[in-house]
Symmetry: C2
């Protein structure tokens, strides 16, 4: 259940850095021999080759990987890699970079689960610094890189109580029991509600979104026997 | 108190889109005549010219603007614009794009308050989809574009009570009075605490960070006479 990163340019490198911080195992596919030689280490293992070739993807274990991040500079290469990975592995989660907005649809069609446009995210971030600075500062403080920087977790209500008799958020009282704070609710249809009322009844197959410091999240996981993925 | 966007490439365009959604007034400086002709409208006013020239910056009102977003494709152009804007206006908030990591320090030195590296943010985002998906989904649900999508606000405690007698978060009971949920605390030194305990005493010159749906945030602003900037 490892992750494959295709391309060790600026995007790929930053993705690797974040995965490392979260102690997730991954392998990087990179075509440039000098990049491989320069960055290869026990922490950052490489497969030297072109991600466009199925054998190279197989060498990186695409058939049994959890996730593939395609971060190649060329949009057409990303489309090709996404298509190849999807062909080999129906269940793998595929995240791809795109530089042109017109590539978005093609990558989705090729089988990508998520498509990221760095320039769009960058532009959005610049404006967010102006219009929602408090939100950005909050997120910055969540994302302190470290092994246990999970601050927000989505939890199926079935983990929390026997839904044959409906309970409310107040009844659960996660705050007193674990320190965690319920900040969102996703109903059985997947509709998201920010900051639900304490009186909200937790329907079967719904989920609560909790905020907590790492030790609070851990307390919740332990108390309710929730396995961390 | 308007905002100036330099460059209407992918980053600048996305920034404009977000500012529009938040009904903030802005002007775009763009050197390419065809881009100006194609995108100019009542909603998106342009100054045609090179942001590298002081007269063009002045035409866009750099001396009285609140904020300048430099989103030019060339790092050296961004450095030049940041330096010029800072020279003319000591108080303006300057946010700049950079493509090379080595430009970061130069832009800061030139007077930028924030520097954004789109590729870094893109790579980080791709990895975050893997390691903190619940957090990203929460943020996506906060950032629904619309006029009143402020969900997180930082509020000086002096707005909330007379700090000559210390109160706790529980004493304030913002939840019952407004629906808002205290999700963070910034003490008098600016240190940030995620999900503070209800027993925390709110020191003078500290701030609480609240989460709420737009109507809850508005209720809080009204109840405590907080002026929205
Ligand atoms: Ca999770
Ligand atoms: Ca604010």
């Amino acid at each position: 259940n490892h992750i494959i990163i295709c391309g060790y340019g600026r995007n790929g490198k930053q993705a690797a850095k974040k995965l490392l911080a979260h102690k997730r195992s991954f392998v990087v596919i990179e075509a440039k021999k000098e990049t491989v030689n320069k960055h290869q280490s026990d922490m950052v293992p490489f497969v030297h080759g072109n991600a466009n070739e199925d054998e190279v993807l197989m060498q990186a274990g695409v058939d049994r990987a959890d996730c593939l991040i395609s971060a190649l500079p060329s949009d057409s290469d990303n489309v090709f890699v996404v298509l190849s990975a999807r062909q080999i592995n129906k269940n793998i989660r595929i995240i791809s970079r795109a530089s042109q907005e017109t590539t978005y649809g093609k990558l989705k069609l090729a089988g990508a689960n998520n498509v990221i446009l760095p320039d769009k995210i960058g532009g959005d971030h610049m404006a967010s610094l102006v219009v929602v600075p408090d939100l950005l500062e909050f997120i910055d403080n969540l994302s302190i890189v470290g092994e246990s920087n999970i601050n927000i977790e989505e939890i199926a209500v079935e983990h929390l109580y026997d839904t044959s008799t409906l309970k409310t958020i107040r009844d659960l009282d996660l705050r007193k029991k674990t320190g965690c704070n319920v900040i969102g609710y996703k109903n059985e249809k997947g509709e998201y509600l920010i900051n639900p009322e304490a009186e909200l009844k937790l329907a079967p197959n719904s989920k609560v979104i909790v905020l907590g410091r790492p030790e609070q999240i851990q307390k919740l996981n332990t108390l309710y026997n929730i396995e961390v993925e």
